[in-house]
Subunit: 135 residues, 2 copies
DNA sequence: TTAATTGCAAAACTTTTGCAACGCT
DNA sequence: AGCGTTGCAAAAGTTTTGCAATTAA
């Protein structure tokens, strides 16, 4: 297997820097539209290719929540997400992990857990009162 | 808001019954191909429409793991999933929930958790030895 | 009878890819 | 110079939709 050289292009650098500024977990399209303002001839495929590249290198996270567009997060500290069904915002959930279940999977089932995702869906503080959904 | 009548068609009944027999978390396409053997003029859109219908009614789960095809699960008992990065199989993980984190989100953040997903990715017992990935 | 549902085909939407030109190293 | 990367357009893959015909209630 041959060593591959990776180049630091201005597009790649720009994409990572801008994503790091955002706490909103944007889609590729949202990023593209926003980036285009500062870098007018940036193309959609370059955005996708770099998001995939950065995800593969572990520099960003790709969150595929729904069937449609993935969302991206440049915060790679271990954390979970809360999706508000009311306003569609995504909240970061930081946690201290004392994790029985992971231990169970590794020790009892003899699997190896490489990573995990835990997604919560519900109503945030702001939306809780506004919904008719009282279940 | 008007009451809507839902009909029990033979396609809908068939789709739910067949999915219940499967423990393999198939995609819509896999289901369609398999169903077509027993119901030759079933159409792809009927499969999709009924999977969406059953999901909205809470009778099945739609698991959207990757960017691509959703997978479906007729086991609606609360459980998690383990995705084997080696063989791509999906294992059901049943758990007893004594859940600090959910409680934290509901009590400290004052959010309402409606449902949650926890997905594990790693190597199952069979694949653990075969991979070069020793991290 | 009538409105929900089906089957078919086309459309919609997200993401990837082929290719020539460009630009890091 | 060499080859990774870009921009553009076209393609690929998944899911939804419009519509006339069918069928459950």
């Amino acid at each position: 297997m041959k060593d591959r050289l990776f180049r630091q292009t201005k597009q790649r650098k720009f994409i990572l820097e801008e994503l790091k500024k955002l706490k909103t977990h944007p889609t590729a399209e949202e990023l593209f539209l926003q980036f285009k303002k500062k870098m007018p001839n940036l193309s959609f495929s370059t955005v996708y290719r770099n998001l995939n590249f950065l995800r593969d290198k572990g520099e960003i996270l790709e969150l595929n929540l729904g069937k449609y567009s993935s969302r991206y997060d440049a915060d790679i500290n271990q954390h979970h997400h809360f999706f508000c069904l009311g306003c569609n915002r995504i909240f970061d959930i930081y946690f201290s992990s004392n994790d029985m279940l992971t231990r169970h999977i590794e020790e009892k089932l003899n699997f190896k857990v490489k990573y995990q995702r835990r997604d919560f869906y519900g109503y945030c503080k702001d939306c809780k009162g506004k919904t008719r959904d009282k279940t």
